[in-house]
């Protein structure tokens, strides 16, 4: 039996411009993910939604979420 874990992270109250900037800044690194792990980023008006899906190591999932959120934070800081 394999366990699949889905995590959704939503960033609210972002301007459309900032949400698009963060999405574009992170997307090119969204390649060569470890097997069993995926990330999809969607931009809806004033919010950015990150969908993580993992059916392997939870450690990989936690580390990926950690790194992605750190990148979101730095992207927002440098444009402010």
């Amino acid at each position: 039996m394999s366990l699949t874990c889905q995590v959704q992270v939503i960033l609210n109250n972002l301007s459309k411009e900032k949400a698009e900037t963060v999405k574009k800044a992170l997307e090119p690194d969204n390649v060569n993910f470890p097997e069993g792990l995926s990330l999809c980023v969607e931009n809806f008006d004033n919010k950015l939604v990150f969908n993580f899906v993992c059916n392997e190591s939870m450690k990989k999932l936690i580390n990926t979420i950690d790194e992605v959120l750190e990148h979101v934070q730095v992207a927002l800081k440098v444009i402010e």
Partner: protein, 327 residues
Amino acid sequence: MIGLGIESTAHTFSCAILEKNGNKGKILSDVRKIYRPPDGEGIHPREASRHHLEFSPKVLSQCLQEAKIKINELDIISYSAGPGLGPCLRVGAVVARSLASFYNIPIYPVNHALGHIELGKLLTGAKNPLVLLVSGGHTMILAFLNKQWRVFGETLDITLGQILDQFGRSIGFASPCGKNIEDLALSSSNYILLPYSVKGNDVSFSGLLSATKAIVSKSKADACFSLQETAFAMISEVVERALAFTGKKELLIVGGVAANKRLSEMLQKVCKRHTCKFFIAPAKYAGDCGSQICWTGLLESKVKQGVSLKDTFVTQSWRLDSVIVNY
């Protein structure tokens, strides 16, 4: 034309702003923050990237202030896209992409090794040199031919910077250890025979590292002296052979280890024998810095309009000899 360069391949997070007029470049600001691992330990990629994440907004802001430039006055943004440590490279790329996207500025991925060479040429005035690139990430002898830097010798295992750092850490120094080893080596003249490994025009340092660790219990100073003499003699031999083969009349040393005076002394003698001009990148800009990335980006902007954001990759093992130089 004004550019911002972002460097984040390993220990250093740096932003620099340069102004380019024709073929001349002027450094308006170059701000760095360097990750220092605990004494005796090497770089941990994720810890280094966390350091870069923490300091990148401050470094950027100080860089803009010192250059008296606003972001919307920038004509291009360039970032180091490799080779380097993945987590560290991604921080620089995210900062560059965010600015490029939000302020609609053309963006250029730059090869870090090429950056060392181009900045070295700008600051020394070397025109067509044989290049010795020696740092923690590289040990290469290079010459330019038909739009590419060709490798005329390199390390088969660890780099010159790595052997100095790994040995230095084993005797308790903090990375980067080159300066400490150089200082300690000055207090000895007792050479202990160590393995000298030159294969064709390539060098191998891993056996030398193990052998140096094995003699350190007798005297740290003798070990440092013998390590430098052996490693630098190996480098000098392959540089001399490459000079003879290529017929180049200029030698340029770039990279963090270029700051070592004993290495310069040995290579100056090689140049004298070959009536070759000797150039060395100024110590302040020999190691990793934003200026190397910015200047290379500005040079590339002569022939390219920048790349689309979706193509702004990072590649941990991006070899210099695969880069086409069109400018």
